[in-house]
């Protein structure tokens, strides 16, 4: 029998109880279960929960798969491309709008608009904009670029975009020299060209968010700071480069971490735009997990890949949270 006084004093806990229980099951319990599945022999429709021997074999199998190696490479390349493009574009837009200008509110809302749409809606459209037979490539004809190229005896410009299987700037040779294990990679370590359109589409969708973050930060920089920089003789460009952008570093870091978190688990946009792509050129871990779990019935493999995704996300977010928490306390 629970003491009624205890209940009266702990009404708060009682209100939280359903949420805590649900979180315990749906978050912690399920993560633990996924991890357990990744260690079992369950790799067909028939459930088999006996443990693998050696225990980590699913993980070693997975890391040896060319497809999963391609996924890791793609995540790395996509993350760099996407964060570079989105932070650059968002910062640029924020600086352009960091002044009294007619229509400021309209521009701000317009650039942020894509953020309200679903990745599926935009992916369905981007898929055709980056189709080699149509979309962007039509502009090379419309603008006469191809006519100029042809008259100069060159072939017309028609990139394959998401259908291009090429991997440029391969560093396999360098890796093989640097590290004996480097020669055993079964994939080209470089930049899959097909990822570039996806990074552009993701930038289109999220650069407005970056802009809004920076505009928030720019609003907090006082007029005195700007005036002082101007009195010191700094022009507009120098003022931003040497004074204001360094002051915005905390915002740059939080924004980059949020975007990193988006890129590590990107799924819908790639799914709608290109799927796995030619030779897994646009495959990502989230698609790998989905296909292993819901198409191929390789449950332990899908679970193992999802645990890798979780660990990667935690490695990014936990130090950031600890840092934010500490700086708030002091």
């Amino acid at each position: 029998m629970v003491n009624p006084h205890w209940l009266a004093r702990n009404k708060g806990l009682l209100i939280l109880l359903p949420s805590l229980l649900l979180t315990a099951i749906f978050v912690y319990g399920f993560i633990g279960t996924s991890f357990f599945f990744s260690l079992t022999n369950w790799r067909t429709l028939a459930v088999d929960l006996s443990l693998r021997n050696p225990l980590w074999e699913t993980y070693t199998d997975m890391l040896a798969m060319p497809r999963f190696q391609a996924d890791l490479r793609n995540t790395l390349v996509f993350t760099v491309l996407f964060i570079g493009l989105a932070v650059g574009t968002g910062l640029g837009l924020a600086i352009l709008l960091d002044r009294q200008i007619a229509g400021k509110g309209f521009f701000r809302s317009a650039f942020l608009f894509p953020y309200a749409l679903s990745f599926i809606v935009t992916g369905v459209v981007w898929r055709w904009i980056f189709n080699p037979e149509t979309g962007i490539n039509l502009f090379f004809d419309i603008l006469g670029i191809n006519r100029v190229l042809e008259s100069a005896g060159m072939s017309p410009l028609s990139p394959g975009w998401t259908t291009d299987p090429e991997v440029v700037l391969s560093v396999n040779q360098v890796l093989a020299h640097a590290w004996p294990g480097g020669a055993t990679f079964q994939i080209e370590w470089g930049i899959p060209v097909a990822l570039i359109p996806i990074a552009i589409a993701a930038t289109w969708q999220l650069s407005g968010f970056v802009m809004a973050m920076y505009l928030g930060g720019l609003g907090g920089i006082s007029k005195q700071v700007r005036d002082a920089a101007r009195i010191d003789g700094a022009g507009e460009f120098r003022m931003y480069r040497s004074v204001i952008i360094p002051m915005l570093t905390p915002i740059t870091i939080s924004t980059a971490i949020i975007l990193l978190h988006v890129s590590l688990k990107i799924f819908d946009l790639v799914f709608a735009m290109s799927g796995v792509g030619p030779g897994f050129a646009t495959d990502v871990p989230a698609i790998f997990v989905f296909e292993m779990m819901f198409k191929a019935a390789r449950y332990n493999l899908g679970a193992a890949a999802s645990i890798v995704m979780l660990v990667a996300s935690c490695l990014v977010i936990v130090p950031y949270l600890v840092h934010t928490f500490r700086s708030r306390e002091t």
């Binding site: 009404k11 352009l96 749409l117 898929r127 949020i258 989230a286």
Partner: protein, 271 residues
């Protein structure tokens, strides 16, 4: 000075055109009829605007739009209410260990959902709601709790403790104070979480496609993706379908953008 203004306007205008291109493609091709829509003329305005694409897309997507609405309304409401209660306790009725519990609850905000997907599906099958709308609502409510709790807690922290104390001195209990004093002050926070959850859940794809395999019961984002992958559907219908699926969140953004921006940071982490 005016030259500089001119350049600024030129750059902003150019950026605006680039940003509008995908939306432009969606809308103008949606208004073409089946005979005039072709990939070779995707950038050109329709010779004559036709509603054919929209009528056909509406016929195909309206059951899924209904599913999306039937999913998003209860899910957004329930997760907001639970978030409000949690946020109230975490900000105004702290007890020993409540900060730790808050941190544990918040962790759900950062996980890639792939890491819970397989047990989730098995669990929903076990409690007999797999493949159903209630199962999807349950999923969205549970994984929405962390974000709504965070938004409400941060909102309630700024309500002066003296208001709560005054109410308790008058003999009101914890729940009564919430009901009479705190809730009436919470409308802005509800606007933020409701809009945030509406947008997020409407735009969800992963849970929709994994929890509901039956095409008839699926939300509109999954139906749109199926439409786009089908070779027998004309392209104007796909584009009109994209407009239809985007419209609810787009309208919310246009009408209530102020509240949308407030949920921004929390939103990006979850996106």
């Amino acid at each position: 000075m005016s030259l500089k203004r001119g350049i600024l306007w030129f750059i902003l205008g150019f950026a605006l055109i680039l940003y509008a291109l995908p939306v432009y493609v969606m809308i103008i091709n949606g208004f073409k009829d089946a005979s005039s829509v072709s990939l070779a003329t995707m950038w050109q305005l329709p010779g004559r605007a036709s509603l054919g694409g929209f009528t056909e897309a509406w016929a195909m997507l309206s059951p899924n739009l209904r599913n999306s609405l039937a999913m998003v309304i209860p899910a957004a409401l329930l997760s907001s209410i639970i978030g409000a209660l949690n946020g109230y306790v975490f900000s105004k009725w702290r007890f020993r260990g409540s900060e730790v519990l808050f941190a544990l609850l918040l962790f759900g905000l950062f996980i890639p959902y792939q890491a819970i997907l397989l047990p989730l599906v098995r669990f929903l099958q076990w409690i007999n709601v797999y493949g159903t709308l209630p199962g999807l609502v349950l999923t969205h409510v549970v994984y929405g709790i962390s974000v709504t709790t965070l938004i409400f807690r941060n909102f309630y922290v700024n309500i002066p403790g003296s208001i709560i104390e005054a109410a308790t001195v008058d003999g009101a209990g914890m729940i009564e104070t919430f009901w009479r004093v705190v809730l009436p002050l919470s409308l802005p926070a509800f606007a933020v979480t409701l809009i945030f959850q509406f947008t997020n859940i409407w735009n969800d794809f992963l849970f929709g496609i994994t929890v509901v395999p039956n095409p008839k019961a699926q939300p509109v984002t999954i139906a749109l993706n199926n439409l786009s992958g089908s070779f027998s559907v004309d392209w104007n219908v796909v584009m009109a379908g994209a407009v239809i699926a985007a419209l609810p969140t787009a309208l919310v953004y246009i009408g209530l953008g102020k509240f949308f921006v407030r949920g921004l940071v929390a939103g990006a982490i979850k996106a």
